[in-house]
């Protein structure tokens, strides 16, 4: 970098920033209310587009002056569709509303926008401290989070680059352009950033390796393959704030000397593909990507490559194979991709969250980053916490927070007054941890020691009604299908593991099965090349270690303690509780298995029942007559009364 260029870079950036701020200020001067609606995939799934339409129509009908703007996702899934109304003239601060259906939207327009009444009964909280409405920051779901990667998610319009810039975006890139590449790498090394893609490899070291590789067409790849079947943070980040990721990629390219970069997004994420592609185009128009970025000599072209849905392509060497047009089969390392990667060129592959952490680090310095998190795992972790918690969603916490704090304080604990049983962390590569591990701090090393794994950040919380053997079977079913087939142990070993688990969950378990599971698991770990095979047995091994009694119940008593394994349980109706004449369960049964007994109560025809549990949901709470038992033999036998005289005659003939 020619130092005399520094001023020009800053001038150029200042010009863009001024433009962005002028736009923002112009919008702020406009006193008409602004309605922010979260319309990432998750919001849309919960009906955010209907909500948006309702707002727009109602505003039009009432002839009001108000703006409806779409923003990304704020991560509060339990509250979707989420709406923030900023109406300065009303005298109220910006207000956060949750579960805003189309009907609620119309009500808000009528009462709040027109009448000035913010409908307190529907308010979730105010976005800033004030003395009228309690702030959302009083909720632990908000105040115990620490947002670095997701700071702007849900607050800016992902399809407007100026919005990002007005919130401080691209300043880190401008700063980086005035630094030596070595200084950038040093900064990333000192801050202690570790890869958020699962393995936690020090990012600075990876970049240094690529920077030190001999010249060549170096390439940066942003890994947004996100194959874990229960995680969606990377997608949400790309949909909500794509520029932070692009900015991180540009800084990375600058540091290692690359001029080409690829965002590898799965094609199942069409909205993310669209938003990232649009963001790249906008950044190019403003000269923040492309050639001669901000008047410097630095060029960078970023392309989007759509992954075709193979879990193993999240593995970096598999990912490279698939970009080159082959089956995504991993190869052995070294050489590491940072030395010899895509088309033989040095390739830095980083996860979305790793790259999105870079701009704040460059902007605020390594020392600032080290104040967050722990000594060996600085920074934040983003989890998608789902399953049986009250406040499910995306959570960003400083590393070192315990599982207990995350699950019980931040996410509101277990839903429906049930008891906590286990938390699955790290998806197919991770493990299930029991209650005794709730005080484990969340960081790379502690989770690995406990037998789980940071993984990509999927976290599924399970209550007492879940079956650990079934969860292990579920993950094995997944990894078995996704094994690329290169290594015998991974290809055939996972199949055997699955077969055994399948047997156990259907009541065919035998003595010796558990020992075989353990032995086979160790063999698969040893005999597999890539992380997929090496970690595939983790769900089995951890559940065997912490929930062995459940496996034993399945094998020895043919009993599923969680009553999840359908061959091992059954539904029946408690005749003492069933209300005469009530028909609630009859209509809901998809197989017409519910019949009326001679006493006009209900019974279940076990031959027809498919154990879907609908009748249990349908039975009115005041009767609560449907029961689950395991093993099935415990259910009382209730015969279907014979209806017509013909049939009854036949039946008596037979007897």
């Amino acid at each position: 970098m020619k130092p005399e260029n520094k001023d020009q870079i800053y001038q150029q950036f200042e010009a863009i920033r001024r433009q962005a701020e002028e736009r923002r200020d112009a919008a702020r001067r406009d006193p008409s209310p602004t309605i922010l609606i979260g319309t990432a995939t998750c919001g849309i799934a919960s009906g955010a587009l209907d909500t948006k339409l309702a707002f727009e129509q109602a505003i039009l009908e009432q002839g009001l002056d108000a703006r409806v703007r779409t923003v990304g996702c704020i991560g509060h899934c339990y509250a979707e569709p989420v709406v923030i109304i900023d109406y300065p003239q009303s005298g109220f601060p910006p207000i956060f509303y949750h579960e805003v259906t189309a009907g609620k939207a119309r009500m808000l327009v009528k009462h709040f926008l027109e009448g000035g009444d913010p409908l307190f009964e529907h308010v979730y909280g105010a976005m800033v401290e004030n003395d009228m409405i309690p702030s959302v920051m009083e909720f632990s779901r908000f105040n115990q989070e620490k947002r670095v990667v997701m700071e702007k998610c849900g607050h800016i319009d992902p399809e407007d680059i100026y919005d990002y810039i007005a919130h401080g975006g691209y300043a880190a890139l401008a700063k980086a352009l005035t630094l030596d590449p070595e200084t950038i790498i040093d900064e990333i090394k000192t801050c202690g950033l570790r890869g958020r893609g699962g393995a936690g490899f020090p990012t600075g070291r990876k970049w240094e390796l690529a920077a030190d590789s001999p010249e060549g067409d170096k390439i940066i790849v942003c890994n947004a393959d996100e194959g874990d079947p229960g995680a969606y943070m990377d997608r949400t980040i790309l949909e909500s704030n794509p520029h932070q990721v692009l900015e991180g990629m540009a800084i990375c390219a600058l540091a290692v000397g690359a001029h080409k970069a690829i965002v590898y997004v799965r094609s199942e994420y069409p909205l993310a593909v669209k938003i990232v592609s649009g963001a790249i185009a906008q950044a190019k128009t403003l000269g923040l990507l492309g050639s001669g970025i901000l008047n410097s000599a630095f060029n960078l072209e970023i392309e989007v490559f759509q992954g075709s849905g193979a879990f193993v392509c999240g593995e970096e060497t598999g990912l490279i194979q698939s970009i080159e047009g082959f089956r995504g089969m991993p190869r052995s390392r070294p050489p590491y991709p940072a030395q010899e990667g895509l088309y033989g060129q040095p390739t830095v592959i980083n996860n979305v969250k790793t790259l999105a952490s870079v701009p704040p680090i460059i902007a605020n310095g390594a020392a600032w980053y080290r104040t967050i998190g722990t000594e060996n795992s600085p920074g934040t972790a983003v989890f998608s916490v789902v399953g049986d918690v009250v406040h499910a969603g995306l959570v960003e916490i400083p590393m070192g927070v315990t599982l207990r704090t995350l699950i019980f304080d931040i996410c509101g604990g277990i839903a429906n007054q049930k008891k906590f049983k286990a938390v699955q962390i790290g998806g197919p590569s991770g493990g299930c941890l029991p209650e005794t591990f709730l005080d484990t701090p969340i960081d790379f090393d502690s989770l690995t020691t406990a037998g789980a794994m940071m993984g990509s950040g999927g976290m599924v919380v399970m209550d007492e009604d879940s079956c650990m053997v079934d969860v292990a079977r579920y993950f094995l079913d997944f990894t078995q299908k996704e094994s690329c087939g290169k290594c015998t142990f991974c290809r055939i070993g996972t199949r055997h593991l699955l077969d055994i688990l399948q047997r156990i969950t259907t009541g065919e378990g035998r003595t010796g099965d558990l020992e075989q599971l353990e032995q086979l698991s160790e063999d698969i770990k040893d005999g597999s090349l890539c992380g997929l095979g090496k970690t595939a047995p983790n769900p089995v091994l951890t559940s065997l270690k912490y929930f062995r009694d459940e496996y034993e119940a399945h094998i020895n008593e043919k009993r599923c303690p969680g009553m999840m394994c359908r061959p091992l349980m059954t539904y029946y109706i408690d005749l003492d509780k069933c209300a005469r004449g009530c028909d609630a369960c009859v209509g809901c049964c998809p197989t017409e298995a519910v019949f009326t007994t001679s006493t006009r109560k209900k019974g279940i025809d076990q031959d027809l029942c498919v154990k879907c549990g609908e009748c249990m949901v349908a039975c009115p709470p005041q009767y609560d007559a449907v029961r689950k038992v395991s093993p099935p033999g415990l259910a009382p036998v209730i015969e279907r009364p014979v209806k017509n005289p013909d049939a009854s005659k036949k039946a008596s003939d037979n007897s």
Binding site: Y232, C588, C612, G613
Partner: protein
């Protein structure tokens, strides 16, 4: 269940051209169509994605045309296409039902929902009904786990699915279909 006002029944049902005739026209034009891509191995997956986007599946003739264009054996093309979950080799139904079996949906009974669709339509996951109206697929996490279990009908997300809602979903599709037909008829008779 919410009725999506954005869903345009007419677009779903007014298929004036026989879809298979349309496919054949596209396939016969493939050699020309492919010229927009570089003749490079790295283009293989993007090409397959594009072709599938046009045809909704990858028929044998299309795979052959791609192999010819990139000058690689057709077995290689099959090898790659079958490796990835995205590619399918049979036409899907007009209404694609995708049942989420991601982790969150699994623990909330996604497999029971899948079974209900299978039973209702008399086909298995991965298959299409004989009249090509419906097909069932399983997908992994569509990203709204808080709504688990989740089903996608076309692009429409149905959260908090329950076996009893399956029936209602078909009723809705049927009603929409009849509405579209009536509308079409009115249009034809010039009323």
């Amino acid at each position: 269940m919410t009725l999506n006002p954005n869903l345009q029944p007419l677009q779903l049902f007014a298929m004036d051209v026989d879809p298979f005739a349309k496919d054949e026209i596209f396939i016969s034009g493939l050699p020309d169509y492919l010229k927009q891509f570089d003749r490079q191995r790295g283009q293989l997956i993007p090409i397959l994605q594009k072709v599938q986007q046009e045809l909704t599946y990858l028929p044998a003739e299309a795979l052959q045309a791609v192999a010819d264009y990139l000058e690689i054996p057709v077995a290689e093309v099959y090898g790659v296409a079958t490796f990835y979950n995205q590619f399918r080799f049979n036409p899907p139904g007009k209404h694609q039902i995708k049942v989420c079996l991601g982790t969150a949906c699994h623990v909330k009974g996604g497999d029971i929902i899948l079974e209900n669709f299978e039973r209702k339509l008399g086909i298995k996951e991965g298959e299409t009904t004989e009249d090509r109206e419906f097909s069932i697929e399983r997908v992994a996490c569509v990203g709204c786990c808080a709504l688990a279990p989740v089903v996608l009908v076309g692009e429409d997300v149905q959260g908090h699915m329950a076996p009893s809602k399956v029936e209602g979903l078909f009723v809705r599709i049927q009603v929409e279909k009849e509405m579209a037909q009536r509308k079409k008829k009115r249009h034809e008779t010039g009323e």
